[in-house]
């Protein structure tokens, strides 16, 4: 049996999620997810909420933003900002790592 592998999901563009799955993964309601889409923090494909497809990259940022918003009593519009910033930080960090790897140490 290999259940460990079967139950493992890489939270990146390979894993696709519906509206209800994003809500469940992030521990928020579907209406909050819809608000995040309205504010532009999340950009699913598909025209109607019922057809929306999200990629799982966003989940960790939304979870963190949701915790911050609950604990700091922030509104969903602020949560949308937090999500955008967290995503940007994640992307920039990845870029720094890439550049660092490519630039090399030159330690000879």
């Amino acid at each position: 049996m290999n259940t460990g592998t079967e139950a493992a999901f890489w939270m990146d563009t390979r894993t696709r999620l519906t509206l209800s799955e994003v809500a469940e993964n992030c521990g928020i309601t579907e209406s909050v997810v819809q608000e995040l889409v309205e504010y532009g923090a999340l950009t699913p494909t598909g025209a109607q909420p019922g057809e929306w497809v999200f990629t799982a990259e966003c989940v960790m940022s939304v979870r963190k933003a949701a915790r911050l918003c609950t604990d700091l009593e922030l509104e969903t519009s602020a949560m949308a900002l937090v999500v955008s910033f967290l995503e940007r930080i994640h992307d920039l960090e990845a870029q720094v790592r890439r550049l660092r790897a490519q630039a090399g140490g030159g330690g000879f």
Partner: protein, 318 residues
């Protein structure tokens, strides 16, 4: 039961307004919230601040707390005054403690709100908590896949529905394909559910530990390849390490420092699709000590060569 001075924790006076309490809480929460704070004690401090706020923001609970009196010092053992529990817990007919010896102050106030929110909660299935853990893998672990024993202080509900931190070891299987900055969700490996609720998930935030030889860029790897000047000039076949063992790399003649020599598929495996590549980045290294013979050969080369490495500078503005 140990007394905690909730007003002191929030840094407000006992007669502070609800608004002052909220402001004080938000200020401290922003400072210590584990998702933003770099303070290693941040999480502990945040929990303390949140506990104080949970009680003081609720007018009824604040009143009950105030009736505990001002005579106690923080950390001092105390019991609520006679009749206190009846006044604040009686109507609910639950959340009554026979003895206060092993009771935490936060549990006492939690029990007051449990009474308010009703018993239906007690039998409703509750999904287990999701856990988020930052894990650092070696490149070898990412390359091969691995199983980690994660030691976590986890919140867990007891039979009465109260939260407690429990030290636990969780086995997490990391499949092949991880790299820096990736996140993995392990379904059902979080906290166990309550009243038949599903188990929560375990989220892993993966980073890679620096490696002595390789640097990871996504699923590609980079390695600095030291070459003697003559190897770079004439070409050479050199042995280089990969995560799957040493391989021979053909360095073409006239290789420049900083060029990228690609070894296809020798990087980190991807969860799907072909693995990343390994790039050897040549660095031209000179011997620090020359023998007399080497010096002679270099001199001869210097005289015979017409190569001008700074030719392009001469054409610049005068």
């Amino acid at each position: 039961m140990k007394y905690k001075d909730y007003y002191a924790i929030l840094g407000v006076a006992r007669d502070a307004s609800a608004d002052d309490i909220r402001k004080a809480y938000r200020k401290l929460a922003q400072k210590y919230h584990p998702d933003v704070s770099k303070d290693p004690q941040g999480e502990e401090k945040f929990k303390e601040v949140a506990e104080a706020y949970q009680t003081l923001k609720d007018a009824e609970k604040r009143k009950a707390y105030d009736e505990l009196g001002t005579a106690h010092a923080s950390g001092e053992e105390f019991r609520p005054p006679p009749g206190w529990q009846q006044r604040h817990g009686e109507a609910r007919n639950e959340g009554q403690y026979a003895s206060f010896d092993d009771v935490d102050l936060s549990d006492l106030f939690e029990s007051l709100s449990r009474g308010q929110r009703g018993r239906q909660r007690a039998n409703r299935p509750i999904r287990g908590e999701d856990f988020e853990v930052a894990v650092r893998l070696t490149l070898e672990q990412a390359f091969n896949g691995t199983q980690l024993d994660l030691r976590l202080g986890l919140p867990e509900y007891d039979e009465s529905g109260a939260l407690h931190a429990v030290e636990k070891t969780i086995k997490a299987r990391i499949p092949k394909g991880a790299t820096d900055g990736q996140r993995l969700r392990l379904r059902g490996q979080g906290g166990k559910g309550f009243n038949g609720g599903a188990a929560g998930d375990l989220y892993l935030d993966i980073s890679l530990a620096p490696h002595a030889i390789f640097r990871a860029s996504g699923h590609d790897l980079y390695l600095d390849l030291a070459l003697a000047p003559w190897e770079a000039a004439l070409g050479a076949s050199v042995e280089i390490p990969t995560l799957a063992g040493a391989v021979n790399l053909k360095v073409p003649p006239g290789t420049a420092a900083g060029a990228r020599l690609r070894l296809s598929g020798r990087g980190l495996p991807r969860p799907e699709g072909s693995p990343g590549d390994l790039y050897a980045v040549p660095q031209i290294v000179n011997p620090t000590v020359l023998t007399e013979r080497e010096r002679e050969l270099y001199r001869e080369l210097a005289q015979a060569s017409r190569f001008d490495p700074r030719g392009h500078l001469a054409k610049g503005p005068a």
